[in-house]
């Protein structure tokens, strides 16, 4: 049951009706049941995995509550982390490690492989669980004593399968001080849902067709123009796909009275890779900063330690996305760029200068190059495509003309949004302005939304 399918909207309307019509005491139960049902629509068996992890982390936190200090408290933390990393490692990384071991022992690649189905959203909910347990251990988060509340935090359906990664203190502040959303919040939530749908169906899925065709068989599309247009198509696909999903998640949660953090802030307008990571998948980058980069020492132990920490954090960030050398290289590439920018003293600046459009273009090109590793099926394909980006005949652009104009229009709107913040102000605008915006979004969806087979969200595989 994907967010952009009629089945999901029917499900959401039922949840909404029950949530607001039944007594408050039942609302947590309704959301929890709905969340498990939502997950079971994908694979009923794997709900047991979520329940098991919930039970382990809940127990670990309760244990820590009774043991304010000492080795046993640390053991509780270790048990919880081992369970989360163990599950994640088995489902996500076992075959990767087994394949590399087989290679090292000169055995067939699948000699030790197992047929493992990756549980949807495992990377997100394990990170969410770990942040809770670590915060409890650090004394930064109160222990949640009600198991239903904790289970809901882990399984809440708007963010269960692809984030954003919500911190416990934010979620429980909403849950324990829940107040019915006002009309403005509902209008904003609705706007986000429609806008997210537009991003996903009208932009991401349009460019998915081009990117899929190119990456399926790069050799069939000769020339560097073809290569760049195929790669940029994927850059657009992944951004509009993921941020579209996130917008919908934030909007759906807001209609239910919950507030999720911002996850994307026009990352392709970043003027450096450092700034890019402050705008791209913010809930993951801040998680990596708080639970990996800073514990590793951050920038507190000199220049070289900082570079090492950046590199390690980004390498693990790459591995978080997927178990392959492509993702390791992707993370390493970003870690290296972040280190180089730090070395060159490139800092995020508030004011824009006349050279900034060039910096934006360069950052976009660097980010797009990294997506080659993210999307290509093999390392060999990635290297082939990289060569193709910078050599050979010019070939031809894989996009239709109207798609170029469309992207240009989107870029202009993004620049205006960056300086004026129109979108955030839309719920406060006069009724006819708000209604016109929704109507135009729906009209664009109607005309250029992809209505063929539902294309799954890219980040669902993580």
């Amino acid at each position: 049951m994907l967010f952009h399918t009629p089945q999901f909207f029917a499900f959401f309307l039922v949840v909404l009706a029950l949530f607001y019509s039944l007594p408050r005491s039942a609302s947590r139960w309704i959301l929890l049941a709905a969340s498990y049902f939502f997950y079971m629509c994908w694979n009923a068996k794997f709900v047991l995995l979520i329940i098991a992890l919930t039970a382990i982390d809940y127990t670990a936190a309760m244990w820590m509550r009774r043991l304010p200090t000492g080795g046993k408290r640390k053991a509780a933390l270790a048990m919880s982390l081992a369970a989360n990393i163990g599950f994640l490692g088995f489902f996500k990384y076992y075959n990767f490690l087994a394949g590399n071991l087989a290679w090292a022992l000169a055995r067939p690649f699948d000699a030790f492989a197992l047929h493992i189905i990756l549980p949807m959203g495992i990377s997100f909910h394990t990170f969410q669980s770990m942040s809770y347990v670590i915060d409890v251990y650090r004394g930064e988060q109160e222990v949640i004593t009600d198991v239903v509340d904790y289970a809901l935090y882990i399984a809440f359906f708007p963010q269960l399968v692809a984030g954003p990664i919500v911190r416990a203190r934010h979620f429980f502040a909403d849950l324990y001080h829940w107040r019915a959303p006002g009309a403005r919040e509902i209008l904003r939530g609705t706007l986000l849902v429609v806008f997210g749908l537009l991003k996903k169906l009208a932009i991401a899925d349009q460019f998915a067709r081009i990117a899929d065709a190119f990456f399926r068989d790069p050799a069939a599309h000769p020339g560097y123009l073809a290569a760049w247009s195929g790669v940029i198509a994927f850059s657009l696909q992944i951004f509009f796909d993921f941020s579209g999903y996130t917008d919908m998640a934030i909007g759906l949660a807001q209609i239910l009275g919950f507030h999720f953090p911002e996850n994307f802030r026009r990352p392709y307008l970043a003027r450096s890779i450092t700034e890019f990571w402050r705008r791209w998948h913010i809930s993951l980058s801040t998680w990596l900063r708080d639970y990996l980069y800073i514990p590793l020492g951050g920038n507190r132990h000199g220049r070289w330690q900082t570079y090492r920490n950046l590199l390690l954090t980004m390498l693990l960030g790459g591995l978080w996305h997927g178990a392959s050398w492509n993702f390791v290289i992707w993370g390493g590439y970003h870690g290296a760029l972040l280190s180089v920018e730090r070395l060159l003293g490139i800092r995020e600046r508030k004011r824009w200068s006349f050279l900034d459009p060039l910096r934006v273009a360069l950052t976009f090109a660097l980010a797009s190059i990294s997506w080659v590793f993210f999307r290509a099926a093999t390392l060999h394909d990635s290297l082939y495509i990289l060569r193709r980006l910078f050599s050979g005949p010019h070939g031809h652009i894989l996009w239709w003309h109207w798609q170029l104009w469309f992207v240009l229009a989107v870029l202009v709107l993004a620049v205006l949004e960056e300086s004026r913040g129109w979108f955030e102000r839309l719920p406060d605008a006069p009724a006819w302005v708000y209604a016109s915006a929704i109507a135009v979004f729906l009209f664009c969806l109607e005309l250029i939304g992809f209505t063929g087979r539902a294309v799954p969200f890219v980040y669902f595989q993580f």
Binding site: A431, Y434, A435
Partner: protein, 367 residues
């Protein structure tokens, strides 16, 4: 959840948004502008071309006769109209390949909104019995054909005429959100706007002439024979394998079964057409098309209570004798298993024009 709060009213704003959206959709797709640039070779564009040709066809002092039907309808209006002087009838056609009685209902409504243009409307049928392999009620293609013709008021009748829920949803989309139905066409237009406009202009200028003077299949199946005992068919060498299989299937496989679903469907849509013209002076003439180049020797017995026979018994239609065109069921007059060739079309058109003239002359109250 507070739906109204100060100057924020959720129902008002969302209602207004939907209103604006439908207004945008109507402005683009219900004003006729977009239909005028539809891809002429798309299903909807093809149908629109036929309807436009018929709407622009000049009507003189002769009786206007219109044919509906699908690709099997063998009338060449160019031939039939050669005889206008003697038959007193001027023929037009909206027989579009792949259309069914449901389509004919909306097509007739489009070309004859006041039910007063035609002296007769000719309805060709494969069989007077309600025999079919296909459940035409759930035919999705009809939606593609009819998108430009559907109005909001058609919603219940059109949508509920589909038995399956996915097709009902598709049908509702075509009635309410035209843009959704035209999505593929619109994106194809964006890909090559100039080429499309040029092609549309050419179609507008020449479509009538192209369709009117079209030459059908010149090959024929002369030499074809069937050994019914051994169930083997001998066919001319020029015939491609696909068409061979089609002929063998038509002749040697079991005939389609009597279908209650198909009877219901026919009663619904042919009945709706007749109801629309109730009280008008337009006559409906139903007839059986030539069945094929060779006819199986053991046809199933006729069903006296079939839909069209009941219509005829009730005096709602004129039913030509089933064997009217049996003399054309010869291999020399067919190009494949189902369609008459150029010569077959010529002979069929001459015969039909004569029959229609004779029937109208003897029908009481005919115009």
């Amino acid at each position: 959840m507070a739906l109204v709060n100060g100057r924020f009213s959720v129902p008002a704003r969302l209602g207004l948004a939907l209103l604006f959206f439908f207004a945008l959709d109507a402005l683009a797709f219900r004003t006729g502008w977009y239909v005028s640039i539809l891809e002429p070779n798309s299903t909807a564009g093809f149908l629109e071309t036929y309807l436009n040709i018929e709407k622009q066809r000049p009507t003189g002092r002769y009786r206007q006769v219109l044919t509906v039907g699908d690709s099997r309808m063998g009338l060449k209006t160019r031939i039939a109209n050669v005889l206008t002087g003697s038959t007193g009838c001027s023929f037009g056609t909206i027989s579009v390949p792949g259309t069914t009685p449901r389509c004919w209902y909306y097509m007739l409504r489009d070309v004859d909104p006041d039910c007063d243009r035609y002296a007769a409307i000719l309805v060709p049928l494969d069989s007077f019995d309600d025999r079919s392999w296909e459940n035409q009620a759930d035919r999705e293609l009809d939606i593609n054909y009819l998108t430009p013709l559907l109005r909001v008021g058609d919603l219940p009748r059109f949508v509920l005429s589909y038995p399956s829920w996915p097709n009902r949803a598709h049908a509702a989309g075509a009635v309410l959100c035209k843009g959704l139905a035209y999505q593929h066409d619109f994106q194809a237009f964006l890909e090559h706007p100039r080429t499309r406009l040029e092609y549309v202009r050419l179609q507008e200028a020449h479509a009538r002439e192209w369709y009117y003077n079209a030459v059908w299949e010149r090959h024929n199946l002369a030499g074809m024979s069937v050994d019914w005992k051994t169930k083997t068919v001998a066919l001319p060498d020029w015939l491609e394998p696909g068409k061979r299989r089609e002929i063998e299937h038509e002749l040697l496989d079991d005939p389609p079964p009597d279908s209650a679903e198909f009877a219901r469907y026919r009663r619904q849509w042919l009945g709706a057409i007749l109801d629309r013209y109730r009280g008008s002076r337009t006559r409906f003439i139903f007839f059986r098309l030539p069945r094929g180049p060779v006819v199986r020797p053991d046809p199933p017995p006729p069903d006296p209570s079939s839909t069209v026979r009941e219509f005829a018994a009730a005096g709602r239609i004129i039913l030509l004798p089933a064997d009217t065109f049996d003399s054309l069921e010869r291999p020399e007059l067919f190009g494949d298993a189902l369609h008459v060739n150029e010569e077959g079309g010529y002979q069929f058109s001459m015969m039909l024009a004569g029959e229609v003239s004779r029937v109208l002359a003897s029908a009481p109250g005919a115009r």
